[in-house]
Assembly symmetry: C2
Homo-oligomer: 221 residues x 2
């Protein structure tokens, strides 16, 4: 990642990704993102977003997906370009970073990590407790989190964080975790049932509580 | 724009802009964008979006603004990064293009153009009659138009296309022009008056019709 480039006028192009998932913690499900411990200068030893250089024969979208797979062993259920960061002073060498953001269903994270052989220098950290990161990656992570919180309000983005079928309570908990605040259960139910976005299934979640109907998002709306 | 680069692995970074304004035509106000006639290969003689190379000592946002000023003499009232286009085959030499989009109040276009000395190879074209453009610029223009049409629905983006004060009919016409369809005047009035976004002024637009009250957007909402 730190090979010297001799051309004075060279601008290097990196691709990075911010991936969100809900992960179990002592404190219930938390919104987390995977970070990679840097093994080289600059910022050796600090956490950074997963990323790499754009290959000259590679489309941007493809680079984002394979960089993510290489650094973390993860294949997200949703991957979208977020923003390109290009301030002159964001890196010791002039580098612009095309940033993608992704959602990963929590039930797939562990399966993917065992299949790929989880890289040792990757760790999931709570979005509310991100340490100082390399480069301008704190700013990038904050920007991605802001986008996620805005987007969850007016779209079915929560579907990227859940299995195909879920109870209304589970869906509400996703919203609560992402937004970082409690929502009124009856208002939430009324809003979602009235949205025409959810389809009730014939299945129920059973357990300690009374059975709760499972829903899925309708395929097109 | 076409200097050969010798490094096999070089990826070049361009900055382009899609600027929208409402311009008078025989057919009433139309949504238009400025295009630049290319004077060099590749695509010599074709229209292209205003743009240029990112300077190695230049922030991305600054490059977008000054590129726009250099190629068109325009300073938009609103300039925002849109998307970075980076398919391998989008240009004969590997080039990623960081695209910005902008809105320009129609009353400022002519003033700015006369002040700057309007470049001869720039022309405003109707968004519904864009000819085949250089590179993937048709795709980029379509993407920007889509974003504008989506955004006008849930934000005060129309303010970037209007003078500070306007009648409700003028505001409705902006929406109609951008969306490409008629809106019901009484529904529109009710919706906007109920939104809390508009502040009535004490001024009226007079002319051939009965006087119409001028409104402005409230400064923060």
């Amino acid at each position: 990642m730190t090979e010297a480039r001799t051309e004075d006028d060279a601008i290097r192009v990196a691709v990075s990704a911010v991936i969100f998932s809900l992960r179990a913690s002592d404190d219930g499900d938390r919104l987390m993102l995977p970070l990679v411990r840097r093994t080289r200068e600059p910022y050796r030893g600090l956490w950074a977003l997963p990323g790499g250089w754009l290959g000259v024969h590679e489309d941007l979208d493809a680079a984002a997906a394979h960089t993510l797979a290489d650094t973390t062993g993860l294949t997200p259920s949703y991957l979208e370009q977020l923003y390109t960061f290009g301030d002159v002073d964001r890196s010791p060498n002039r580098t612009i970073s095309v940033v993608y953001w992704a959602l990963l269903r929590s039930d797939l994270v562990d399966a993917q990590r065992s299949a790929a052989g989880a890289p040792e220098n990757v760790e999931w950290l709570d979005v509310d407790a991100i340490p100082p990161l390399a480069f301008d990656h704190n700013r990038i992570a904050a920007y991605a989190l802001d986008r996620l919180r805005n987007k969850v309000g007016y779209s079915r983005i929560a579907a990227g964080l859940l299995p195909d079928e879920f109870t209304l309570a589970e869906l509400r908990e996703v919203y609560e975790t992402v937004l970082g605040r409690r929502l009124d259960p009856s208002n939430f139910r009324r809003l979602l049932e009235g949205s025409g976005e959810l389809v009730p299934t014939e299945s129920f979640r059973t357990g300690n509580h009374r059975p709760a109907r499972l829903y899925r998002y309708c395929s097109e709306s």
